[in-house]
């Protein structure tokens, strides 16, 4: 027991060192930018995990919340508001939107949330595309002001990389705290058996609503950071396809697993770029890869390590 915990610690420490030294090795700005997007996606997927991975509610609105956070931030800073106001504005907008969506649908015990969030994603996309004077329409918004606190802010890809690592670490810690709180237990109880959860005194409607809102806040904050670190946004980044992709990241990484969220987001953000040399064929390979993971490791990539460990222990 003790040695395995020590091993985990050592593995985590090595991983942290590797992650922190990547920018020194890969001086290529494009790779760092890709890693930055992977981390932003990881935060969004961690958010999706609250409602979908832990509480069992299917949510296809996560890309739209991501977009709402990004557009709110871009529009506010371009209008001259100080950057420090944007995380608050982004959170206010996504909380309002998630309440409007969640309150009427989460009382019902079927797939209403899934349906409603698909519609919501489409509405958000249409507004972004058609409200051109404000949102820039299909061509998006450029030259978005960067992160700035009292005149200080990260400059260049590498400094953003470290800022995003720090934010991702906080996002993970908050998720871990929530998982081990009464709310986290209520989420998993609701997913495992809604009726038994209610019979134990869990308010399942409140639990589902909170999971949905917390997830939206993760997406809204990631959107805020996306706009002010990538500094260019367009509707494509927050479309229905993106919503499906986020769900795929969660499934491939491992539903309900915090490590899985990060692995899934990293794999599905980086892989398409790595396979780009295949041209048209990359989509085929990518699709096959996703299917192979789902079939061979239903618990996702995060479960492979523990499966192997169990096999090895069994063989001994």
């Amino acid at each position: 027991m003790k040695t395995s915990r020590l091993k985990t610690r050592i593995a985590l420490a090595l991983f942290a060192i590797a992650v922190l030294t990547i920018p020194l090795a890969a001086r290529d700005g494009y790779i760092i930018q890709l890693l930055n997007i992977a981390m932003l996606n990881a935060i969004v997927v961690l958010g999706l995990n609250f409602a979908t991975g832990w509480t069992g509610q299917i949510n296809f609105g996560q890309a739209a919340f991501y977009g709402l956070g990004a557009y709110t931030t871009a529009i506010a800073t371009k209008a001259g508001l100080p950057w420090i106001s944007t995380p608050f504005l982004a959170v206010a907008v996504v909380v309002a939107a998630s309440l409007v969506l969640g309150l009427p649908t989460l009382r019902l015990r079927t797939y209403y949330l899934a349906m409603t969030t698909i519609g919501f994603g489409e509405i958000v996309r249409l507004i972004i595309v058609h409200w051109e004077p404000v949102t820039g329409g299909t061509s998006g918004l450029r030259a978005i002001p960067g992160i700035s606190l009292f005149g200080f802010g990260p400059q260049g890809q590498i400094q953003h990389y470290y800022v995003l690592i720090a934010v991702l670490a906080v996002a993970v810690l908050v998720a871990v705290r929530i998982r081990h709180s009464a709310l986290g237990r209520a989420m998993i109880a609701t997913k495992d058996s809604e009726i038994a959860a209610e019979q134990s005194g869990v308010d399942t409607t409140r639990t589902k609503l909170l999971a949905f809102i917390i997830g939206a806040i993760y997406a809204g904050l990631a959107g805020c950071l996306y706009a002010s670190s990538i500094r260019f946004i367009s509707p494509d980044s927050f479309s229905g396809i993106q919503a499906v992709l986020l769900m795929t990241m969660l499934i491939v990484g491992g539903m309900g697993s915090i490590a899985g969220c990060i692995i899934g987001a990293a794999a599905l953000t980086l892989l398409p770029e790595a396979l780009r040399f295949l041209g048209q064929w990359y989509l085929v390979l990518y699709g096959l890869g996703v299917i192979v993971v789902i079939v061979l490791a239903p618990g996702g990539l995060a479960s492979i390590a523990s499966t192997i460990r169990l096999r090895l222990a069994g063989a001994r």
Partner: protein
């Protein structure tokens, strides 16, 4: 303490409880027996607030709870241990038990004390304390479900077919625990069972249900000797 009067419940247009009445006194074990589809589970679900009656009255300690919210009924002291066990496989044994406290805010020390009581009653759960709920055997799951219900500090425990799907020797253990619990703490128990012999054995009174009505009632010992019961439920 619990009083059910003329309770009627329907699913859509189909009435499945056709005006049943019964009661449970403090410290008493009362059995509700009857065949599959008689309406036993529906009765418990209505008492715990998951279903709403079309007419009739449920009183708990003198207050009508017909339209109270599920979590308020739990926090008022009525715990429901559902049919088919329904523990939370994704939570550890410890977390499953603590989830039973969700209806009220307890202090940490109170939770630890209650955990100790439950583990004292079910030592098997202590061995499995940090394991996932999915890894438990059927009997252990039933004990966990009962333990979880106890964590809400009930004065009435409603058990829906605790013997379902368990081996005879395990059923015996579970019923021993229920009896021990009742003797030790004075907890009232409303026991729903198809296993009529066991239920009549440990209960003081019993009600017999058939397609939504109560057809017989009385002291369990007398019912166990009743030829109608012997023929229909005790195998002659």
């Amino acid at each position: 303490m619990l009083k059910v009067e003329n309770l009627r419940v329907s699913y859509g247009h189909i009435e499945v409880l056709k005006g049943i009445s019964f009661d449970v006194d403090p410290g008493e074990i009362v059995a509700l027996i009857g065949g599959n589809g008689a309406g036993k589970t529906t009765t418990l679900s209505t008492i715990s607030g998951l279903l709403r009656p079309t007419s009739g009255k449920i009183t708990w300690k003198g207050e009508t709870i017909n339209s109270a919210a599920v979590e308020n009924i739990v926090s008022a002291g009525v715990a429901h241990c559902p049919e088919g066990r329904r523990i939370f496989p994704g939570l550890t044994v410890r977390e499953n038990l603590i989830t039973g406290t969700a209806s009220r805010s307890y202090r940490k020390s109170e939770i630890e004390a209650d955990l100790a009581l439950v583990l004292d009653l079910f030592p098997r759960l202590k061995e499995r304390f940090t394991q996932g709920g999915w890894s438990l055997s059927g009997g252990e799951q039933q004990m966990l479900a009962i333990g979880r219900a106890l964590m809400s500090r009930p004065s009435l425990l409603m058990l829906d077919e605790p013997s379902l799907g368990l081996a005879p020797i395990v059923i015996e253990q579970v019923f021993d625990k229920i009896l021990e619990l009742n003797k030790r703490t004075g907890l009232s128990v409303l026991l729903v069972e198809q296993n009529s012999a066991m239920a009549l054995d440990i209960s003081a009174r019993a009600f017999v249900m058939e397609t939504g009505t109560i057809t017989l009632s009385g002291p369990s010992a007398a019912l166990a000797d009743d030829p109608r019961i012997r023929e229909a439920y005790l195998g002659g």
